[in-house]
């Protein structure tokens, strides 16, 4: 158990020793801050008209929900870059034998690596959440909905990281891992855009699609089926990664 934290700490250290983590954090904050400001601006313009409506959407609906939606899409592009190195870089720079020859089991390696990346992602979520909290200076927030958004973003990022980690286990080269996980994520994101398929297939595609589960959670309605979807999704790819390393160890 302690080894998981040791591996996670080293992973995080490596991320922050390279310019990658810093530049991604900076860039992400810049892009989202820009989007956030345009949303706030649009809300300020709409406000007089909204005041006339009886059940008008509040600032949380019009600013916070789109912010977390954009954050998920921007991170869909970024996370493959963070996860691509996890295993395949160790394999390429021949440091994997160090982990394999040490008395460390495969699940500790995988969970350690995963925990390292997820910690970085949690830092990102925290930094993003500072923006909506700044709105408290001039208005009120629907905190329930804000927490639902934070939860939704955390779960969706954890799932992104899990699939990225798995592809990093499979791919021989970090670039291939990045491209693979990016395509897989994009496909899962747009999976329910299809229409006119047989209703039976449609239900399955709809269930697999990340976007609908993400939006359900974002709406503030926390359903166990959506939570289970994300937890099962991450668990599946972590287990597959462990399996993959087990298989490889026997081969070597």
């Amino acid at each position: 158990m302690r080894l998981i934290f040791t591996i996670a700490a080293r992973e995080l250290k490596t991320l922050f020793l390279s310019p990658l983590a810093w530049s991604i954090l900076g860039l992400l904050q810049f892009i989202l801050a820009y989007l956030f400001l345009t949303q706030v601006d649009a809300y300020a313009m709409l406000q007089p008209r909204l005041a006339a409506l009886e059940t008008a959407p509040g600032i949380t609906d019009l600013v916070v929900t789109p912010l977390y939606g954009s954050a998920a899409i921007v991170l869909l592009l970024i996370i493959p870059l963070l996860t691509m190195r996890l295993i395949s870089e160790e394999r390429r720079s021949k440091t994997l034998p160090l982990l394999i020859s040490a008395p460390v089991s495969n699940h500790e390696i995988i969970l350690g690596k995963y925990l390292g990346v997820v910690t970085l992602l949690l830092i990102m979520v925290l930094m993003i959440s500072v923006m909506p909290l700044s709105l408290l200076a001039g208005g009120e927030l629907d905190f329930g909905k804000l927490f639902a958004n934070i939860l939704a973003l955390t779960l969706v990022l954890a799932s992104f990281a899990a699939i990225g980690l798995y592809l990093s286990c499979v791919a021989s080269h970090p670039t291939i891992a990045a491209i693979g996980s990016f395509s897989a994520l994009l496909l899962l994101w747009i999976l329910d855009w299809t229409s006119g398929l047989h209703p039976g297939y449609n239900a399955i595609l709809e269930y697999l699609s990340m976007l609908s589960h993400f939006q359900n959670l974002q709406s503030g309605l926390i359903a166990s089926r959506d939570l289970c979807y994300f937890l099962l999704f991450s668990a599946t790819f972590l287990l597959l990664s462990i399996h993959r390393l087990d298989y490889e160890r026997l081969q070597k």
Binding site: L3, T6, K13, S93, S101, A102, P103
Partner: protein, 296 residues
């Protein structure tokens, strides 16, 4: 002497190609076993613990240096060794001492604070060895530890291996034959997956001796005069000052030859027993295998 590592019927396949076929070996404390040729894994018992049934216990007795040192270039030497110590489950209070000892043995004290990526290949190799001996394992496996080093570094590493060999069991895999001669106590040669030679270094030295002497003199000398000495089979005259003498293995005529030449006043410059190089032995052993069928 207690057997530290025992491998039975080791086989390793890459696709259909057989790299190692049913090789057995064992190593005891204080032995340095040199492996010439490729290496692999099958059933391995470390200190009587099965590597596959109880990997964690078995691996904690094992230090491994792959052919490329498994170092993280972005960490400092100290950080790296601390990470390795944690990976090998060295308890926290013992960690400092283990790292200091390992740094001292590998001569890394002066570079402890530097980034591994900025250090030379020789240092990286030593960091790799430091990592392998950190948890004081019973068995150290070194895979081509001197590749890519300059001659001084090679000498240092070989000295270190010999020193380590007195306390641990070491398996050294290499394709450099003099390295085996210099560092090992036992040697095994693998060719096309099969064991072709299993010897102690002393036994290997016997293989190396041939029944031939090279003689050089200052002034021209009629080497045919030596024919009458006991034990001499054949004299091969290369020039008036240089010849090669083949003799009987049991009856070395060197002393008699020296006396005869010195008495003649021709001036003895050199009287050298010829040795086969390891390369020649290797070739002789491996070419013998060629007639046999290749492994499936």
């Amino acid at each position: 002497m207690a057997t530290l590592i025992q491998a039975e019927q080791l086989s390793r396949y890459f696709g259909d190609h057989c790299a190692v076929r049913e090789v057995d070996f064992s190593v005891a404390r204080g032995e340095v076993l040199g492996f010439l040729g490729p290496n692999g894994a099958g059933q391995i018992l470390i200190n009587g613990i099965d590597l596959l049934d109880r990997p964690r216990e078995a691996k904690s007795q094992l230090g491994y240096l792959p052919d490329n040192p498994p170092v993280y270039r972005e960490l400092t030497v100290q950080e790296y060794l601390e990470y390795c110590a944690a990976l090998h489950r060295i308890p926290r209070p013992a960690r400092y001492h283990a790292i200091e000892k390992s740094k001292r043995r590998c001569g890394l004290e002066s570079v402890a604070g530097r980034l591994i990526g900025n250090l030379s290949k020789g240092f990286q190799q030593r960091i790799g060895i430091a990592q392998a001996i950190l948890h004081n394992p019973q068995i150290i496996i070194l895979d081509e530890p001197t590749v890519g080093l300059d001659p001084i570094q090679i000498r240092e590493i070989r000295a270190l291996i010999r020193e380590l060999g007195s306390e641990h069991g070491i398996i050294l895999s290499t394709h450099i034959l003099p390295e085996v001669q210099e560092s090992c106590t036992h040697v095994q040669i693998i060719d096309q997956g099969s064991l072709v030679l299993k010897e102690t270094i002393a036994g290997l030295e016997r293989h190396l001796n041939t029944a031939a002497l090279t003689i050089r003199t200052r002034d021209p000398f009629d080497f045919r005069r030596l024919q009458s000495l006991p034990g001499i089979d054949n004299i091969e005259i290369i020039s008036p000052e240089h010849c090669r003498i083949h003799h009987d293995l049991e009856n070395n005529p060197a002393a008699g030859i020296a006396e005869t030449i010195i008495a003649s006043g021709a001036g003895l410059l050199a009287l050298v027993p010829e040795k086969k190089t390891m390369e020649e032995i290797f070739l002789a052993l491996t070419s013998r295998q060629e007639a046999e069928e290749p492994c499936a």
